[in-house]
Symmetry: D2
C-alpha cells in the first residue's frame, strides 16, 4: 500500500530488490498500525517533509527470505528466521548515530515514514508483502515461540516502554510510578514498571477506559484512577502519604496530561514525556518544577538496547500480551484500519494489525 | 528590620540569644537583597504561608562573635572569622534532608523567609545587626581576603550558578552554553560556564541590557545577542552550524524565556530552569522536547557542595565580581532597597546590599 | 550480651534509659548474627578502634515500647508497632551525612559496633532485650504481616542487595547478571536482580554449596555454575554468546572472587564489590578494566532509600525468605552462634538469629 | 615505515589508493610516536594478534589532498584543510559502535595498529607520507592556526585527557584532583582538570621528573609531590584537611601507581585508570574501596565527543603545548624514535614526533 500523497493510498507492485552481501529481504507476516500512522497518512508534518510516495508501516514482523552472507554473520540470522525490525536504523555517520542515538539520526532513516519508495529497492515500509532489509537495518530474531501478533508489540510498544520508563526515566525498586493514559503505551508502561520492581503502580484513565483500566491490573497496576470521577492529585497523595510520585509518564497524547503529570510529581521526581501532542502546547507552571526540582524528559522511540530486553520479556511471557491485539485486517483494508486507529470509527482499539496473507 | 505582615516593615530590637555548645552568633557585615526578597516583602506565597513576623535577608556575610565549643569543632571556625551563611539548613530528619537535599527540606528551614522571629532566639534573618547561628546552619569561613561585598555573592549567586549549570545541568568541556537573561544569575552562569570549559558561551538580553551584555563578555561570554534586534534561533544556529545549544539556562524570570530556551536547545540538550516565574505559566511545544529528547530540569537554590567551589572560585578571583554590587544602603533604607530590586525605581540594579554599619 | 574486649562476652544488666520527646525504646524480638559480627567479636579492626564495652547486634527487629512525641510524628510510628532498625544512623553534621550518605558517617554512628555501652543510654546493640532508639535512628515500621525472622533480613540482607546491585550497580532490564558466592548476600542479589528484570541471572558457587545453588534457582537464578567442576568464564561466554556479563557482584569474601569477577565482565560492564576481604589483597590485571572500560564499584551497607523497597519486596513475598533462617539461639548462646557464623562449627549456616525470649 | 613482524621495520612504497565518493587521502605533516607504539613495534599482544605487515602511527596531522564528494559534505572539509585523525573509527555495526563507543569496536578498526597494509588501500598508518581516509574515519579540521606539532597532541593526548578525567571521571568544580605520573597524559590531565575548575590540582612524580613537575605548574598544578622524598598520603591529607582526593588518575603505567591512587582517594571518590600496565597485576586492598565506596573506572582512548573540545582548548591556547614536543625525527629514523619513547635511550622524552618532510 503506497501513500502517494496525503490521504492517497493505493496498492502498487514493485520488483523485488537484488540482494547483495550486506542486505536482505523479509516476507511480512504482520505489521502494526502505529498510533502515529494516521498522522503520516493524513500528511501532518512533524519531523520533516514526507518524501511521497512512501510505503507506510514500521511495526514489522516477518520471516527472512533472503539474506546476504555478511548480514548473516553480523546479525546471526538465517533464512527462515522470524524477525522484527526496529523503526529507525540511522545513517551511521551523523553525530546522533556516532553517539549511539540512531533513533535521532539527522537523516531520519526509518521504515514506513521517511524514505521514498520511488527508486529501488523500493520496499521501505511494512504495509507490504515484502520489506527490504537495509545493510544498517536493526533486525532481531524472535524465534517461532513468539507469534506474529505479539511480535508486533516488541519494538514500538514494549521497546519504547522499556527505554522511556526504565532506561531514560530511571524507575527504581519501590518507586511510585504513575502512568496517564491506558492505551498501548500506558499498558506497556505498567508492565515495564512491574518488571522494574516499582511499587505501587498507578494508572489514570477516563470513564470510557473502564475495560482498559481493568486490563491494566492484569499488567501489574496496583491502583486505577478514573480522572472524571476522582481527583488524581488527592488519590495519589493519599496512596503515597503526601510524597507523591517518583516517576510519572504521560501517554495521553493531550497536553493537559503533561500538566496533570507535573502536579502528581513529588520532590526530585521524573516526568517522562513521550508526547506526541501534535503541536498543541502544554501550559506548565514551571515554578512547581523548580520548587520540587523535577526533571522533565522528552523521550523518543526505541533502540536495540531496549528491544533486546523486550524480546526477553515477551519470551518469559507473564502478561496477556496477545489480548492487546484487538483488530486484524488484510492489507487492502489499510484505510479502514487507519481510520480505526485515528478514532474515527467510534470505538477505540488497542493494537490494530494488518496481515498480508489475509 | 522585621516584616510584621505584607509590606509592613519596622525596626525592632531583640535580646541577643543565649549561646550553648552547638550554636552561635554572627555580627552582620553585609546582607544582599535577593531577587526573591521583594516577593516575600509583598506577601506573595510561593513555598508556603509566611510565619510573620519575620526578619528578611538570607545572603549573609559577617564575623563570628560567639560560637559554642561543639560548633567550633564541627565547623573548624572560631570567633572573629568572616563567614557566609547558606540560605537553607534543613531539619536533618525529613526525606530530603536524609537524601542530602536539605535545600528542599519539608520544613523549609531557611534564613530570612520561613522562620518567625516572635520567639527566641529571634534572629533568623540578615536585615539585622546580628544573626543567630542555628546548630544546623551551614556556615562557611571565607577569610579576610574576600570583602563583605563580594562575600554576598558567594551562596545565592555563585553557589546557585555552580549547582544549576554544572552540578545538575552537567555543562561539559566544549559545550555550547546559552544563557537567557543578563541579570546576576545570568552573569554568574556565564563565569561558571567559563570555569567549566564551555565554548562558546552565548548570552541573550534586551536593548536595555546593553551594559550588562558588555559586562557579560568580561565574565566570559563569547557572543551576546540582543533578542529585540536579532533572532536568537538564527544566531545560535549560525554559531553552532545548526547543532544548536548543548545547555540552555533561562534566568529571565519570564515564561517566554523558557519557551525561547526550548527552541535554542539541540538534540539531547539540557534546559536548566531555575525560574521563578511567579506562577505565570509557560506555553511549551513539548513535541520539540520529544523529537530532540531534551531534558528540562527544575533547579532550586544551593548547598555546601556548590558553595565550597564558589568560595574557591572567588578566591582565585579572575572575574570583576565587585562591580556586580551596584547599590549600598543602611538597614533603615531597606524598603527603598526592596523597591529598587523590585524594579519600581526605574533603573535596574545588579546586586543591592545593606550595610548595618552605615 | 556485652563484649568487654576481644572474645570476652558476658551478660550484663543496665537501667532502661529515660525517654524524651525525640527518642524511644524497642523490645527486641529477634536479632541477626551478621557475617561481620564474628570479626567484631574477635577484635578485628576494620573501620576503627572498637570502644569496648559494646553490645553486639545490628540486625534488629522488635516492638516499640516507648516513643517520644516528636519521634512519633517524625517516624509515623506508635507504641506496639513492629519495626526494624538500620545499621547506621549518622551524626547528621559531617560531609557524608549532609550529602545523604549517612552509612559513611565520619563518626561511624551505628548499632552493635561503634558506640560504647558504658554510659547511659547504654543500649546501642541488638544482642539484648531492649535497644535504645536514638533521635537519629533510622526506624521503619514493617507491620505484623512480616515475621520477626524474615524482618531480620530486611536491612542488612535485602536492603544491601537493593542498594548494591540496583541503586549503585545499575542493573537494567535484560542485563546478564552474574553473582559469585551463594551466601545470604548472593541469594539476596539473585532476587534483587530478578525484581530488576535481569535476564539471565547466573550464580556461581562451590561443590559444597550444592543446596544453596538449588535454593538460588527458587530465588530467580537461571543458571548455576559450580566453579570447581566447570570453567565459569567458558560457561558465561556460552550463555552470552561471547558478550559476557553486564553486571557482576562478588560476595565470596575472597579476593580471588574479585579476580574472577573481572574476567566475567563484558565491555563497559559493572563490577559490584561489597567485599569484605578482611585486608587480603586482590591481584587484578587492570588492563582488562581498561580495554573493556569496566567500572569497579566499592559499595557499603544500606540506607532508607534501599530499606523502604526491601520492606515492600518482602510484603509482596514471592520468595522463600523464611527458609534463609537456618538457626535460632537464645541470647545466652550468642557465643555459639558467633562460632557458627564464623564457620568454626563445621556446617555453614545461612542466617543465624538470636531470640531474647527463648 | 612498515612493520613486517616484531621489531622488523622497513621502508616500503605503495600505490596511492583510488578515492571514491566516501573516502579520501591525507598528506602527513606530522605523526606522533605514541607511548603504545614501542609495544606494537616489539610485538606485545594486548588487544589481539597484530595483522602484519602494518604501518605504525595513529597520532596523525596532515593536509587533505583528495576527498570524495560525499565525504566532503559529511565532514564539512575540503582539499587543503589541515586535519587530525582519531585513532579508532569502528565498524559501525557491532554493539559497541551502535552504542556510540566505537573506540571499543569489536573489530578494533584503528589506524596504525590493527589493519594490515598488505592489500589496497594499504595506507592505514601514520609513519608514512600519505594516509588513506576510510569512509568511517573520524577526521577533524583543525585550521592553520594550530601547528602540526601541537596538532599531534589533540586526539591521543588531550582528547584522552578530556574523556578520562572529565567525561568519564566526572571532575567537578572545586574538586581535589590528584594525578600520578607527570608524563604527557599526566600533564594533559592537569590542564584538563584546570579547565574543569578543579581546585586544588596535585601532581605526583619522582626525583627524575623534576623538570616535568615544574612544567606541570605551568599547566595548572597547584601542588607537586616528589614521592621519593615525601609521603603522598600525608601531603594530600594535609592539603585536603583529611578529606583526601575526589578524583585520582594513575598514569604511571606501573601497578604500584594504582595501589597508591587507592590510598589517596577519599570517601565516594573516583579512581580513573587508563593503564596500561602491560599485564602486570595490581595488588589492591579492596576493603578500602568498600569502606569509602570508591569507584574505579577503566578508561580507554578518545572519541569525537572528546576531540572536539580538545581542538577548542588548543585554539584558546593558554598552555605551553608546543613545549611538550621534545624530539623530531625523519621517517627513516623511526626505530630510534621508538627506542627513545621506550626509554631505551637513557633520557625520557615527552612527545616524540616524526616529520615525513625532514
Amino acid at each position: 500500500m503506497v501513500l502517494t500523497g496525503p490521504k492517497q493510498l493505493e496498492m502498487q507492485t514493485f520488483d523485488l530488490p537484488n540482494i547483495g552481501a550486506d542486505d536482505g529481504l523479509v516476507e511480512v507476516e504482520r505489521v502494526g498500525v502505529c498510533g502515529s500512522d494516521p498522522g503520516i497518512y493524513s500528511g501532518s508534518i512533524t519531523r520533516g517533509i514526507r518524501p511521497y510516495p512512501i510505503i507506510l508501516g514500521h511495526e514489522i514482523v516477518g520471516r527472512i527470505v533472503q539474506l546476504g552472507e555478511e548480514a548473516k554473520k553480523r546479525l546471526d540470522i538465517v533464512e527462515g528466521d522470524r524477525v522484527v525490525l526496529e523503526y529507525a536504523f540511522g545513517c551511521g555517520a551523523c553525530r546522533s548515530c556516532l553517539s549511539g542515538n540512531y533513533a535521532l539520526c539527522d537523516k531520519n532513516y526509518t521504515y514506513g515514514s521517511m524514505i521514498s519508495c520511488k527508486e529501488p529497492p523500493h520496499l521501505f515500509g511494512g504495509y507490504s508483502e515484502y520489506v527490504y532489509i537495509h545493510p544498517r537495518a536493526m533486525v532481531h530474531k524472535i524465534g517461532d515461540s513468539i507469534s506474529p501478533d505479539v511480535g508486533v508489540l516488541i519494538c514500538a510498544v514494549l521497546g519504547n516502554g522499556i527505554r522511556w520508563l526504565r532506561q531514560v526515566g530511571g524507575v527504581s525498586m519501590g518507586d511510585t510510578v504513575v502512568i496517564l493514559g491506558p492505551g498501548l503505551q500506558g499498558l506497556a508502561g505498567v508492565c515495564v514498571a512491574k518488571e522494574s520492581g516499582a511499587d505501587p503502580i498507578v494508572i489514570i484513565g477516563l470513564s470510557r477506559d473502564k475495560s482498559r483500566l481493568e486490563m491494566a491490573k492484569r499488567f501489574g497496576a496496583d491502583f486505577v484512577i478514573n480522572s472524571e470521577t476522582e481527583n488524581p492529585v488527592e488519590v495519589v497523595s493519599q496512596i503515597t502519604h503526601g510524597k507523591m510520585a517518583n516517576v510519572v509518564m504521560d501517554v495521553t497524547g493531550n497536553p493537559s496530561g503533561a500538566e496533570l503529570a507535573l502536579s502528581l510529581a513529588g520532590k526530585r521526581a521524573t516526568l517522562v514525556l513521550p508526547g506526541i501532542y501534535k503541536g498543541k502546547k502544554a501550559s506548565l507552571n514551571l515554578d512547581e518544577a523548580v520548587f520540587r526540582e523535577i526533571r522533565m524528559l522528552g523521550v523518543f522511540s526505541h533502540d536495540f538496547r531496549a528491544v533486546e530486553p523486550a524480546i526477553k520479556m515477551v519470551r518469559r511471557s507473564q502478561y496477556p500480551f496477545k489480548e492487546l491485539i484487538t483488530h486484524r485486517f488484510p492489507l487492502k483494508d489499510a484505510e479502514q484500519a487507519l481510520r480505526l486507529v485515528a478514532g474515527e470509527e467510534g470505538e477505540i482499539p488497542l493494537k490494530v494489525v494488518l496481515d498480508p496473507k489475509m
